[in-house]
Symmetry: C2
Subunit: 217 residues, 2 copies
């Protein structure tokens, strides 16, 4: 077994291909976006604030590692994650990052709002309250993403429409807003707006991907 070394090198090299995909900030952002549902290259480029060329290049890397699939629809090519496990791995990585990197913790604290304490931090009791109608769970992502999946009992008001649709929300119950995940700032903005308008509101760090990864083991 003198070539055991060579075999091992090959194996680790393959795994490193996957790791490499998760080593670029923009690719991580694209993965998170794709975790919300399939999207065109243009939509991805716009959401991630990068050129379409660069988006295409990054998606190429993702496809090279077989982590995304493509489908042509007319002029557009839509991308989707090849496996839910890709989204799960994203959640695992950013969770570990939040646990270990003080720098990241500090960044996150800056955008965190004061807790308000009107909302429990564990998923189960929050869902219990939502089921009883004691809180309103509000999904502020674009409607398409809400339609793909959303948290149980969640209502959809995209952040862009929130200001005009405030009347739909109750003033007496706490409104818990969430969006794509801890690095998506839409829910933070929503809470800021709601509080300014006199609503009781709190912000849920986790998005659909985080809940799924936590629930399904």
């Amino acid at each position: 077994m003198k070539d055991a070394r060579k075999i091992k090198d090959l194996l680790y090299e393959q795994v490193a291909r996957i790791g490499k995909v998760f080593s670029s900030p923009k690719r991580l952002e694209l993965i998170e976006l794709l975790g919300q549902g399939e999207k065109t290259v243009e939509a991805l480029a716009h959401e991630a604030s990068i050129s379409m060329k660069l988006t295409s290049a990054h998606l190429r890397e993702l496809r090279g590692a077989h982590l995304v699939e493509t489908e042509r629809q007319g002029k557009n090519i839509i991308y989707r994650l090849a496996d839910k496990a890709v989204s799960d791995l994203w959640v695992h990585i950013h969770t570990l990052a939040e646990d270990r990197l003080i720098e990241l913790q500090m960044e996150l604290q800056k955008i965190a709002m004061q807790p308000e304490d009107l909302v429990p931090n564990d998923r189960e009791t929050l869902m219990k309250m939502a089921r009883r109608g004691e809180v309103v769970v509000l999904d502020v992502r674009p409607t398409e993403e809400y339609l793909v999946t959303h948290l149980p009992f969640a209502r959809s008001i995209p952040i862009d429409e929130l200001r005009q649709r405030l009347a739909e929300l109750p003033k007496d119950k706490p409104i818990v807003a969430y969006c794509r995940g801890p690095y998506c700032l839409m829910a933070v903005d929503a809470v800021a707006l709601l509080r300014k308008e006199g609503f009781k509101s709190a912000h849920l760090r986790d998005g659909v991907a985080e809940w799924r990864a936590a629930e399904i083991r």
Copy 2:
């Protein structure tokens, strides 16, 4: 919120620091080794077949991302994983790699032995059989690693001593050998030796880290 972009970039960049650590084959190998228990730089360099300088450089990356801790013991500096979640993430990454990369699947198939069917592939029934003494679970890693943790009911015979200690093993029961994980070839070698000597033997892909990651969810 025009600087939302800047904040996001910072956040994803931090997470990418963690991803970067997992993007190098040698670092992955070091992480897997550290998952078996704390080790000196020298031991790591030897096991991974790289120079101590390079080992040190990689460990520096790992420490920079706060994924390992160091402790001085006399002349030596020993490294250990800062968190079990690091080992879990390694398991998640290589699992995803095995699911998605055909190239890796093919490599793994080359080293896989014929299944023999004397051993169930799900963890639970294997443990049941081990509890009843119907199979012998054999840990062929170095003794130090066995002492840190091992699978329930497992006996320890390091691969180097196996040839001389064959008499300790029964000829009538199947012997299920395992080692550090799917990329560690010690168990494969052990099974090859055992079969040649007339034992019934099979090889368990997963190591301790994989079992832990699967159980604790």
